[in-house]
């Protein structure tokens, strides 16, 4: 295993891709997965349950200071930032939204990059704002591996276009290609 953790960020237009990815994650995956998705503030329980029903691995919204375990998918709770505090612990924050986003993909990715460094795999999917660009840049800076969805393959291109314009991701892939990559983890 080349990676110690996987972070996935997505916003508008990423839902179908997320479903595919969660379905095909290996059931014996030995690393934690952090999922940071923009969503409506009030849409809460239904969303978590829907994803949990689909995912091949247990999926949960973590409590603050939740212990990180391998093979678990941690979904950033609505209206909170999710940070990786250290290799054992998740931290939540109610700091102001960044790029109009809480949870912020930039915060989640950057905090994971600092902890897992070159052992982090980050995937950025379709979205309608520029959140995620700073996150991909942070993962690159710490030597992690970054995949950005090909904008021509995105339902909404803004987020991935921004990331590609301002950073150099390791690979720019379509959803089928990202799925193939992830299924080999």
């Amino acid at each position: 295993m080349k990676h110690d953790a996987l972070v996935i960020g997505g916003s508008a237009g990423s839902f179908r891709a997320i479903i595919h990815l969660l379905e095909i994650l290996a059931i014996d995956l030995s690393i934690p997965v952090f999922l940071c998705l923009h969503r409506l503030k009030q849409a809460r329980k239904g969303f978590e349950e829907t994803l949990a029903n689909i995912a091949s691995l247990p999926l949960m919204e973590p409590f603050d200071k939740e212990k990180i375990k391998p093979g678990i998918i941690y979904l950033a709770p609505a209206n909170y930032h999710m940070l990786i505090e250290n290799k054992r612990t998740i931290a939540l924050s109610t700091e102001d939204p960044i790029q109009y986003s809480r949870p912020s993909i930039d915060i989640c990715f950057a905090s994971a990059a600092e902890i897992y460094k070159q052992r982090l795999l980050a995937i950025l999917l379709s979205g309608a704002n520029q959140d995620g660009t700073g996150g991909i840049a942070a993962v690159n800076r710490h030597g992690g591996y970054t995949l950005v969805q090909d904008p021509t393959d995105c339902e909404i291109t803004t987020m991935c276009e921004s990331a590609i314009k301002l950073t150099i991701p390791n690979q720019i892939l379509t959803i089928p290609e990202i799925i193939e990559f992830v299924s080999l983890l």
Binding site: Q42, P62, D64, K65, L83, A91, L92, S93, D96, S111
Partner: protein, 279 residues
């Protein structure tokens, strides 16, 4: 911009040597993010920040205020307010006085939310409301009770969800006008709480890390939401001990939706309805 852990440590030590504030056991990531924001906003380096706080006590006070996170809303997370209304508070209806402490009350939105709910339940007159925060600026804002309207339209949706609607019985609708509690002034772009709500609470500056309970009271309800997420595990335990020592038996601690008691103090509480009951 990157900040080395050593620089953060030096900052914490400097603040501690200059004042009573102690950020030693604050959550690392959050403290680092706040410090980076401060350096960026004031165009300072770590070195120049340290010099400036050493030379200027008022600037130190301002930095301490900037470190703390003050985001809050009226009726944030309607589900917990439903639980307070239908599950938790009815058990306290027989008390002659209901003592309530908002620990880390920030700019006061939760204090007003609580008073509005208590009033709808006929409990406000019997309640004594105490509220504390480390930051004297936010306490001043709480005393004024004026909030921006444009960025906070969600307040009204939350009010509707908690005060007007009843998720347990959709046939019930309480037609409570906003004007009973606050004035919405779209021209001046503000939401202004009514005077009788402004005059009720007792506000006091308090640092949960270093200070004792400043009130001569033991509490029936302690509200501390999205405060301990900025503390590390050890400090969270200290704060739970502080609460426990100042709560009546059977009283209730309400934390943020994604906060929980992890350490040894979990044994002293029983979790029910998203709240912690002191055993």
């Amino acid at each position: 911009m990157e900040l080395e852990n050593q620089e953060i440590q030096t900052f914490v030590n400097t603040v501690r040597s200059l004042s009573d504030y102690d950020f030693t056991e604050y959550s690392d990531k959050s403290l680092k993010r706040r410090l980076m924001k401060i350096l960026h906003d004031y165009h300072l380096t770590t070195e120049s920040l340290l010099i400036k706080i050493s030379e200027n006590p008022e600037f130190l006070e301002r930095i301490v205020k900037d470190i703390t996170v003050n985001t809050t809303e009226l009726f944030r997370d309607p589900a917990i307010w439903h639980s307070l209304r239908y599950d938790i508070l009815p058990d306290f209806e027989d008390l002659s006085t209901l003592n309530i402490w908002h620990a880390g009350c920030s700019t006061g939105q939760e204090v007003f939310s609580m008073m509005i709910l208590l009033n709808e339940m006929g409990l406000l007159e019997r309640s004594d409301i105490y509220a504390t925060d480390i930051n004297s600026d936010v306490l001043e804002a709480a005393r004024k009770g004026v909030y921006r309207y444009r960025f906070n339209v969600g307040y009204l949706n939350n009010f509707d969800a908690v005060i007007k609607e009843n998720p347990r019985d959709h046939n019930i609708y309480h037609n409570v006008p906003y004007s009973k509690y606050f004035v919405v002034d779209k021209v001046r772009d503000n939401i202004r709480m009514k005077d009788y709500l402004l005059n009720k609470p007792v506000y006091e500056k308090m640092d949960l890390v270093t200070d004792h309970n400043p009130f001569d009271r033991v509490f029936d309800l302690v509200i501390c939401r999205n405060v301990i997420i900025y503390f590390n595990y050890e400090l969270q335990n200290k704060v739970f001990k502080l609460f426990l020592d100042n709560m009546n038996q059977g009283s209730v601690l309400v934390l943020g939706v994604h906060e929980t008691i992890l350490g040894p103090y979990a044994a002293y509480f029983k979790k029910k309805f998203q709240a912690y009951y002191k055993k």
